[in-house]
Symmetry: C2
Subunit: 327 residues, 2 copies
């Protein structure tokens, strides 16, 4: 049977990168497993708040993260979705799907397992950096027109709307960044904000509210997305309670994020489903650490995720060093 | 009287930079005050573990931090040493020395103060990022030859020992980095390690132990630094208990760091004098936050300090927003 890993890092964004660089420098036997590398960093537009790296963007920074990991020969396995994590003695057992199928390796490993349980990876410690996914509006038409004019990633899909009319839905930094990006691409940009103001960086709010191409509609609740083969508009309720129609070619939804924290039921989470951690990135399960956007630290920032990733891996090394696992 | 600042950031390294960038983006009325900008980052040699920025060094990264801050017009006041911090109602009062003298501005402000107390800065919130300073050996000759062959900063002073014989004292990453740097400069490099092994990154340990120019002396306790006008050697006790002489031109001391945490007596600290913080970088004093190496997070890393700096400033904004200070 394969020797257990010291550490498995689940996820592929800023926190995973930071943890991976330190794990490699410490020569741990470790692996990064992730659905896809890049995560929330890769889907960011302009980035100007990662200290020391001004004027970058999500694709460039995510590329730099990957290169930095590869410099140290860190193994990154993509296409992997964790199905279950359990613990037996001091070892974690991770079963996973690869590209939608139970991981092939699982079957081979199976024979070697006493209880016949599928462990695709065994590890002394785990760091969960699974991040978040975009929150949905939950209005009629949303599912129907997803990928047909409705997107949750302006950086990824914004360029498809060159010369068209778009609406960004949301009131935070992510929505502001979306609107700024679309102003350079679309012919006209609406922002549908359900609140009377924005909650975000003043520099971004300034840019959006002073841009003649951008019209902000405040206190507007999106009710329905309309279209035929493709999005043609949306219906919203204005502040007087009247339903209004807006003709659109594209809708960019930026109304917040939901943590990807379902993979271990025994983990303590807060009301938002975020994994509770302490300042050492420890969770309630010894040997299982968490870092980045998936945790209950409310500041979802690349620099914060990096700091947590480093903290988590150094905590995990302290933990591993204290273990006496028979190998 | 001058309007109080929203925020004063004390310190000038990674955590201060991160906090400053975010404060500027949020358009806070804030200032960075520090003895000198750069801190521990600037005195680092090669840096290869700040995620996304491989193959850099302390001077380059510290320069990039400063540029990033200046891009946002952040005010950095150097030459300032904080003498005292007190709190009156919801406002902090900071009195300071500038270039060794009581800050000139203090006298002007004095008249405006009800109780005649010198407040050089008033602020709703403070972030302490004062970092650490090098620990001393406390052996005879150390004080005498400081700056005459004895240094605590290889990056700063290492280049002075071209073609000479040096000893680095210590057993952690900082000592390893010092030895690696000196191997490229000196004719012969000793490492005096009081332990039987190193505690640091495997990549660095490999480099040092495989370098033919470097001789590591394990289980050696430095007893005395000798010299005339300038360092000529050191005496150490070997593992058999015998005192040995080593002829040297330079001694680079890297035996750990002491937190610069004396500025507020009321702050809760741990046994090492590090300021206790929670995962939001809150201290026991409401409105006073701490970030970076000065805190009790044991991982003294640039990326961790950056994450804490961002966390501290976002926590401080939450705190300020909840205040109702009469202005």
């Amino acid at each position: 049977m394969q020797k257990p890993y010291d550490l498995i890092i689940i996820g592929g964004s800023a926190a995973a990168t930071a943890a991976g660089i330190y794990a490699a420098r410490r020569k741990l036997n470790f692996k990064i497993i992730t659905k896809e590398f890049g995560g929330e960093v890769a889907t960011s537009g302009e980035i100007d708040n990662y200290p020391g790296v001004p004027d970058t963007d999500g694709i460039a920074l995510s590329g730099a993260f990957r290169k930095h990991l590869e410099k140290y020969g860190a193994e990154i396995e993509e296409g992997v979705e964790v199905a279950d994590i359990s613990k037996k003695g001091d070892l974690f057992c991770i079963s996973a799907k690869k590209d939608g199928q139970p991981k092939a390796a699982a079957d081979k490993l199976k024979k070697g397992m006493e209880d016949g349980k599928k462990c695709d990876y065994e590890a002394k410690a785990i760091i969960v950096t699974t991040g978040v996914h975009p929150r949905e509006l939950n209005v009629p038409g949303e599912k129907e027109f997803r990928g047909k004019g409705v997107t949750y990633c302006t950086t990824c899909d914004g360029p498809l709307f060159g010369g068209k009319i778009t609406a960004t839905i949301g009131g935070g930094n992510s929505a502001l960044e979306s609107a700024i990006m679309m102003s350079g691409i679309a012919s006209k940009v609406y922002v549908i904000n359900k609140n009377p103001g924005f909650k975000g960086d003043a520099v971004l709010i300034d840019k959006v509210t002073k841009d003649p191409k951008i019209t902000v509609i405040y206190e507007a609740g999106t009710k329905e997305i309309t279209g035929d083969k493709f999005v043609t508009g949306l219906k919203y309720q204005d502040k007087e309670g009247k339903v209004q129609d807006l003709k659109l070619d594209g809708i960019l939804v930026h109304i917040g994020m939901v943590p990807n924290s379902e993979l271990v039921k025994e983990l303590e989470k807060n009301d938002f489903g975020e994994i509770k951690v302490d300042k050492f990135c420890k969770t309630n399960i010894p040997g299982l650490f968490a870092a980045g956007d998936v945790t209950d630290v409310p500041y979802k920032q690349i620099g914060v995720a990096v700091g947590q990733g480093i903290t988590a891996v150094l905590s995990s090394i302290d933990y591993i060093n204290k273990l006496s696992v028979k190998q």
